[in-house]
């Protein structure tokens, strides 16, 4: 299951989508709106995405994860629009034969998604200000970098 949705994410459905009798381990990661970043208070987040490209990039990440680990099933769901405190913006689920692979693959997918997938977050602070998050010094994706030689190092 790969999807981008403006609806609330059904994390139970995401976990169930990776169910397999061949899996001994499943890991579900959920990212949600955190109230405080240091002293600054967030009241909600807003996500925007370049949907067609984002879906293609997520699919490439899932394909690559499946070539790196022995994965039974793998799902990535990202929400767009306003995401209130405590609500989920992303859910990633991976099932594998053994637990080490589930933890590694799920963590890798989230790490890579945060670098390579055209989705942006706007902080809506408690003081009424807003701020698009465009990380400085962040790795800027280059063509051809999405290959087997890098990533899980």
């Amino acid at each position: 299951m790969i999807s981008i949705t403006s609806e609330a994410i059904d994390t139970k459905e995401v976990l169930e989508s990776v169910k397999s009798d061949q899996a001994g381990a499943s890991v579900l990661f959920v990212g949600s709106t955190r109230q405080f970043t240091g002293e600054k208070e967030t009241v909600r987040l807003e996500y925007e995405c370049y949907e067609t490209m984002a879906l293609e990039k997520i699919q490439q990440l899932v394909d690559l994860a499946q070539s790196k680990w022995d994965i039974q099933q793998c799902s990535v769901v990202h929400r767009t629009g306003l995401v209130g405190l405590g609500e989920s913006s992303i859910a990633v689920a991976v099932s594998t034969g053994h637990r080490k692979e589930s933890f590694e693959a799920a963590a890798w997918l989230v790490d890579e998604l945060k670098i390579r997938v055209p989705i942006w977050k706007k902080e809506i602070w408690a003081d009424g200000k807003t701020e698009w998050v465009h990380p400085a010094g962040g790795q800027q994706p280059k063509p051809g970098t999405l290959n087997h030689s890098q990533g899980a190092s």
Binding site: E48, C49, M53, A54, E56, K122, H134
Partner: protein, 81 residues
Amino acid sequence: MKIQIKLFAAAREISDRGEIELEVADDISVGDLKKLVSMEYPKMKDLILRSAVSLNREFSTDECVVHVTDEIALIPPVSGG
């Protein structure tokens, strides 16, 4: 040739539009395109310096050549998750 460039996030807000249209030289490079957009939209200059350009939903480098049929977007540093 006439091209459209999709804008997202801060780039969209700074320019107040989701897509801009530009008249550019045929076979313009991505690097030259970024310079051109920076001149036309000086408020976006700092962000463009830190942004990538996608051609047909793949990240490009400054040396890539832009074709009139390409789907072009400015991709500021991403922050999903």
